[in-house]
Symmetry: C2
Subunit: 447 residues, 2 copies
């Protein structure tokens, strides 16, 4: 459960709309879908994530007394709304792509079917809980594609946008293929492996770098990754080599050195040579500092001898694409399909399903957007029922399963879609029935 | 208080370092400073923010039993660390720039003086709690500079990176000059005015736009801002005019229309003409959809008749600069100044103070970076004592006071620094004593 479980974390307009719906007895069944209108130019696919936190929110959401008191005193609302909110719980249906599913523009990722007020009261937090994990899982999957089997650790908590972002980013990046996180709370909360050794301040606090390394070897004998760039990388590496000799007598080993500044490829090559020449090929090189998928790819091309990366800011802020053009839109109300036609923001109407089609080699071929009521003969439906009448249908999916799913799904991408720098699009076909419904909807609501 | 008050929200390396410090009796006094190494290219100044949440964290931080149990079972730590953490509370000194102070690169914004382990245990959350509010307050101040006295409302919760980011962004943007937020929880928590009316789904759920407008007028008689672009802006405006006629008979008024798509300047001009021609100059025009300071400036140049803006994603993700190159670095330990010399990440050593110098016209002239022990004859010291021996020295500063401070500080910017698109730098002079200490430090720690 996240620390914010109240539906009070919402936009005021959700409540003013619900006030009007209650006043005018508009509590019929509504269908809303969450989707991404257009992928950022730097993204050829997105990774579904955040569903677990959303389901948790939906099954716990309720207003507290002090929240209701605040709303009652705000001057915006009548007693009927406050009474309604005091009894509020989510009793609707949720269908969703399982976390770790790859998806594309205009595909519903989560579909909510509930009374109109219920569906609205959860909107803001739903978007808030889905967008960010999708951003981070996608960024992490791109890093994984670039890094192949090198070790990747999330270092991003400090530069994440607040606490929850730091915790959700650790989960989303692990889900998408990272090996662990520096974030202790996330480690405890989600059972993610945690990693960490020392900062520059540790070296600086000692009278000498050599003393700092020695002290650390005493206190963390099985966790010896030494930061060597506080003063000078090359001299730092020499001190590591000296320490390695001393430790050998005690049967203690140095796992790796860490480089956190300068030209990582250049420094790593120099340090690798130093380590190898002194007979320490077993000491790995771990790099951090402004790492992202582009830098990893560049370092790969240079054949930089780097065994793993700590990735912080660029991961947890999704720096090159810090938001998604995503939306949660009304598709049907009281049994009638609806559609937004605003310039550049038009939607496909009706309750929908996505069917995925593969090539004979197992790679993605195309997706088809259909009405939820259609049953095409081919393709795999991507949205699965996860909540019925407000109750979860299954236990949370273990993170290990989600990691396997992402790995398997990434292997289905065509080479064009795995390209990290060049935009490629994926075909979304619209079923004839959906096209027909769109036409009918436009005729009915001609503005 | 934020929902995350545990120091467990940290990077593992803080704890592995503290383990070593305890093992080697390194618990002397340390001085750390938080500063920004380099401003993003799109920022000529930054606005200090987030201090209130940091002080709250520092005066409440403690480890819970289940957190200690997790750490004890992690395999990384000895009993002496767990015992130390079980008694942990922050007992040090904090000096900081008051929230709302404008600052520049390499200036300490917050200075922590505490035992080395204490100063480390708060590092990660300190950076996490300061960086994001600074980003948002700065973005908001830029929007305020562009918008002059037009109304600005934070609409960003849904696309903020998690819940805490949404709440902190509402506070930071209000502090920096916004008029309110759509975020109900932030409104309740911080006493910020909340605003909101309707979404497109509200219009779509009704059989017609006219019916939607009428229903809303019944339920929110004093909060009538009508969204007119669901189907067609111009026809939406006609319906608003019809409704205005009907409402006049009941002495009820429409405050504004909202446009949320398309070319905002073009649509606003057309709608303004419609409203004026029909005798409704009192109905305002409120615009949203991908608004930021650049768009506001462009619309200002076009003299677009827009009275206020809702700003979401670009504000709460600080989209054009989603992170700061900021750091929290050891400057002194056991009475001896320290310095990091890593490539591109070198720091000025010692415990420091910033003195601000103004021109005779009241505008910013230059800042001087001095040793904390220096007492220059001129200039205003920017860091103020806020915590002594773990206790706050004063009550929280009211948001209204912070708003006034930002307004006053923005008026001190030179024209070059207020330019939103063209980079300008501000002079930071280094005192002779600090230069001398830097030289001495390099000689002592020659790597």
């Amino acid at each position: 459960m996240t620390a914010y479980e109240s539906p009070q974390l919402t936009d005021l307009y959700q409540l003013t709309m619900v006030q009007s719906y209650l006043d005018h007895s508009m509590e019929d069944k509504a269908v809303f879908e969450f989707f991404v209108r257009k992928l950022p130019p730097q993204r050829n696919f997105l990774v579904a994530a955040g569903l677990e936190q959303l389901l948790d929110f939906l099954t716990h959401a309720h207003f507290s007394d002090d929240e209701l008191e605040y709303l009652a005193s705000s001057g915006y609302f009548q007693r009927n709304l406050i009474d309604y909110l005091s009894k509020f719980q989510f009793t609707g249906q949720v269908d969703a792509m399982p976390e770790g599913t790859l998806f594309f523009a205009n595909e519903p990722v989560v579909r909510i079917t509930a009374s109109l007020p219920e569906a609205l009261l959860i909107e803001t937090r739903l978007i808030n809980l889905l967008q960010f994990p999708i951003l981070v899982a996608t960024k992490a999957a791109r890093c994984r594609l670039a890094a192949a089997d090198k070790r990747l650790i999330d270092f991003g908590l400090r530069r994440a946008h607040g606490a929850e972002a730091g915790v959700l980013a650790a989960r989303a990046s692990y889900l998408a293929g990272f090996d662990g996180t520096s974030n202790v709370l996330a480690g405890q909360q989600y059972g993610i492996p945690v990693y960490g050794t020392m900062a520059h301040a540790y070296i600086q606090a000692h009278d000498s770098e050599a003393q700092a390394f020695q002290n650390f070897a005493v206190s963390q004998p099985n966790n010896l990754v030494l930061l060597i760039d506080t003063y000078d990388c090359s001299r730092g590496a020499e001190r590591v080599i000296e320490l390695a000799k001393q430790l050998k007598a005690k049967n203690q080993a140095i796992k790796a050195v860490r480089i956190d500044s300068g030209d990582l490829g250049h420094e790593a090559a120099r340090v690798r040579t130093q380590l190898d020449r002194s007979g320490h090929p077993e000491i790995g090189i771990f790099a951090s500092s402004s790492v992202d998928e582009y830098l990893i790819e560049q370092l790969k091309q240079q054949e930089a001898p780097i065994d793993g990366y700590g990735i912080g800011t660029n991961l947890t802020t999704s720096e090159d694409a810090p938001f998604l053009n995503c939306a949660y839109k009304l598709q049907e109300y009281a049994g009638i399909a609806r559609r937004k036609r605003s310039q550049g923001k038009a939607t496909w109407p009706g309750s929908k399903q996505v069917y995925r089609h593969l090539r004979s080699n197992g790679q993605l071929d195309y997706d088809q957007l259909c009405l939820a009521t259609e049953t095409p003969e081919q393709g795999q439906p991507l949205l699965q029922p996860v909540i019925r009448n407000g109750k979860r249908l299954g236990a949370p999916e273990p993170l290990d399963l989600l990691r396997q799913r992402v790995k398997q799904q990434l292997s289905m991408l065509t080479p064009a879609l795995t390209n990290l720098s060049k935009a490629a699009s994926f075909a979304l076909k619209i079923s004839p029935s959906l096209q027909q419904l769109t036409h009918q909807t436009d005729q009915r609501f001609h503005g």
